[in-house]
Symmetry: C2
Subunit: 224 residues, 2 copies
């Protein structure tokens, strides 16, 4: 079957106004972050969504620029992304996926030293170029059964299934829509599972891969 798909280009990115992100949504990632980065993250007890800001979005093929003064480590997080296609409010879980135009991939690039030191996530998660998204928005896939892989320089460094989300896509959307209106172009990023190492180095090619959606591919460079 050939699925309907739309390339994520600059015009698609410019239509993103509300940029939601679950952040913590997989147990093994939370446990790993606490162990590896000395975090104190708790397993969420309800589907509370977080935010990013559209300034950081780039398409597949553009460079991830690590700011000159970032001490690092800078890590990848390969994620499933829902793109909203219809204005929606007060959706039941059963009807929640009706407002989704399709799914794509995101790389929630994260500077871990700033994630610890700063009062908010603004530099850790939202420097310009830290949010690659793409390569295609694909209709008709099951968001709870997607294998997502991350490759660095061709080597697989992460592989997990979206079926292990703590709160599923429909649960998030239904709960969000009780309090806020979802608009066409809004995106929701659903977090990643497991470890997010090795740290990204200038020169690395980082790819987020899903069979139906394709390969989100970005080169890492150091800012000047």
């Amino acid at each position: 079957m050939k699925r309907a798909r739309l390339q994520v280009d600059r015009k698609v990115l410019d239509s993103v106004r509300n940029f939601y992100a679950a952040g913590l949504n997989f147990r093994a990632h939370i446990e790993w972050a606490n162990r590896e980065h000395g975090g104190n993250y708790k397993v969420p007890v309800q589907a509370d969504i977080g935010y990013r800001s559209p300034n950081a979005l780039i398409v597949s093929g553009e460079d991830i620029v690590i700011p000159m003064d970032a001490a690092g480590p800078v890590e990848f997080e390969g994620e499933l992304v829902a793109v909203i296609g219809k204005r929606a409010k007060n959706l039941s879980e059963e009807r929640a996926l009706d407002c989704v135009a399709g799914y794509t991939l995101g790389n929630d690039v994260s500077e871990r030293s700033w994630q610890k030191s700063d009062r908010t996530l603004w530099r850790a998660k939202n420097c310009d170029t830290f949010k690659p998204m793409g390569p295609f928005i694909v209709e008709g896939i099951d968001p709870m059964a997607q294998q997502i892989e991350v490759r660095v320089n061709g080597r697989t460094v992460s592989s997990y299934n979206t079926g292990r989300m703590i709160f599923g896509v429909a649960q998030y959307i239904s709960r969000m829509s009780r309090y806020l209106t979802l608009h066409p172009g809004d995106v929701i990023w659903f977090g990643c599972d497991g470890a997010t190492m090795p740290a990204l180095q200038p020169g690395d090619l980082v790819e987020v891969v899903n069979e139906a959606i394709g390969v989100l591919s970005n080169r890492v460079v150091r800012g000047t």
Copy 2:
């Protein structure tokens, strides 16, 4: 002197993509929030910006809708807002204000029980209608010398001067622009000082007032 001014209408709100907010930027407000709401907020040591999401924006004259299941208290926060007019990156503090098109007012309406219970601020700060902004964007005022007042049903309940910011408008913009590009239409909200009581009740008229900018006026209603 007649200052250039632009009305904040739905079209202006629709042009907001990146919605930044300082959150904590005045000592007396931090001390009050810790005392009154049992918070554990620390005085920020650097100008770390936070986010809101554009879904919550409304203009002057529209209703603030308190969700049916909000236990409250729901409180006002009257704030100065900078509206970006030019694409900008790497601005010195001396040049930081060059990218600002003008200033307006914002009411950072906050549901305090959700601010405590939820993992993020999404319901506390970002329910639909929780971010009134306006009534005008005004050029040529000194952002560090504005008296901002909040009135509830005509009675003054808050009054402070923006000169007491912990980090000033130019400091925030300069630091932000080292890591992210500011775009025309982006807004930055600078926090409020002092207490934010009494809690808003259905039927209340809440107004944020500044001599140069005007009166941002919104009625409070309960959702159905």
